[in-house]
Symmetry: D2
Subunit: 145 residues, 4 copies
């Protein structure tokens, strides 16, 4: 079961083809990721105060249909994998009015120490919340079968 | 042999981690792609006037080291594949001062008719130039061996 | 009486000072302007189809307090002046949680013919709606006295 | 005599009207400001390390002609005023090929302590360099008469 965020396409997000510039979806994956973490009690601000950052190490996207100015989008974010050192998400961005699938994608982020700049093991405080998030998702998927 | 473009990191391209926001590299892949096409005599403006667009259908990126404000970047773009309907590129973004590899990636774009919105076969005018581009790259690679 | 739009500050809108980059507020003025027009039955897409554009001719902003990641902002847009050739708006962007005033500003846009690229007189269809908008605002202001 | 920076308009800087989105010029004013400071030996990174920031307190822009994809722009930045607490710049953005004036503008920035977040007096180290910058500009203007 994915966490849903919404985004209304603003004019400044279009390009000269009169469609959403493709780089914006990479930004909206981040919006989805942040919404996912927030739902499970994790704020990037709190992580920063605790000395952690969560930089992205890879991202990919497939583009099916273009979004346009004034579209209402639904950003669906699913946790795909979790270890103490990294986390993977998948994304679907859908036109909320028509249900058309616009973009899919994946990302991997790592837990990093702000002090050393290196990958670090996430402390229990955060890890336990994220394990709950993954378990809920897997239960929801099994029930959906 | 790749086509090289340069980019100086502006302040507005950084984020609260004091590094380049990762979505910008997706934009700079586009800068590299445009520079590649220009080198072989193809301008997006001319393609638009001729009734073609060149939308992206997929992109991926791997992030190795962060870029920072005031860095001079080198965007290296290589053509990987070409048919009459689509083209693939790979990218390397490097810190020009240190030589450090920051980001690698790939993209696929398709040739589309502005009139129909559908994928179309690229006319000889453009296709021949792009075939020359690919041949030059392959020759350069063989010579480098 | 102003028209209110909301915006949640996303991570990619921050800069290396860990605050919202100042150029984003100029974008959010546009969000406010679009919300204002929409409330009075005017969509930019419909204007485009009718052969009009609404380019900006001037903008100014004063910055009082910085916005930050995860802030919920309220964008208040007020119509200040209207002729058949141009329209002026003022803006206030406020932190919705604290009520702190972050940014104020003004803009002027002109009605332009897409065919000629020149300033044109707005047809009655749109002008009448915008006159209603201005009248409502003035009534609301007088009642508030 | 202004300090000149250059910018090539990338595709992602256009909007659905097929012109440069107006918010980008505000960003390019910053590019001009940074180029001005660099010419006189001041880097934002060094200021940050010394505990200062240089936030913007106001900006305005007038738009005359639109920029378009692939345009080469010249950003001309002039120092207009300097005290130990603030600095004002003016800007002209010109199409480098045609000489057409696209945008003019002004900004005010203040010197702020990163420790306190408040406006502070700029130390001699920076102030003396900026006074030289202003004096050079005024001399150049008088010579030009």
């Amino acid at each position: 079961m994915s966490v849903v965020a919404t985004h209304h396409v603003d004019y400044y997000e279009t390009d000269a083809m009169a469609v959403v510039h493709h780089s914006n979806y990479i930004r909206w994956f981040e919006v989805g990721r942040v919404a996912f973490l927030r739902k499970y009690g994790i704020s990037l601000n709190e992580m920063t105060e605790d000395g952690f950052s969560f930089p992205i190490t890879s991202v990919d996207a497939k583009y099916f249909e273009p979004g346009r100015f004034d579209d209402n989008l639904r950003i669906e974010t699913t946790a795909e994998a979790l270890t103490r050192a990294k986390m993977e998400f998948s994304y679907r961005i859908v036109n909320a009015a028509t249900g058309d699938l616009l973009v899919t994608g994946h990302s991997q982020n790592v837990f990093t120490s702000l002090a050393t700049g290196h990958i670090t093991r996430l402390p229990e405080k955060y890890y336990s919340r994220l394990r709950i998030a993954l378990a809920e998702e897997q239960n929801a998927e099994e029930e959906a079968k």
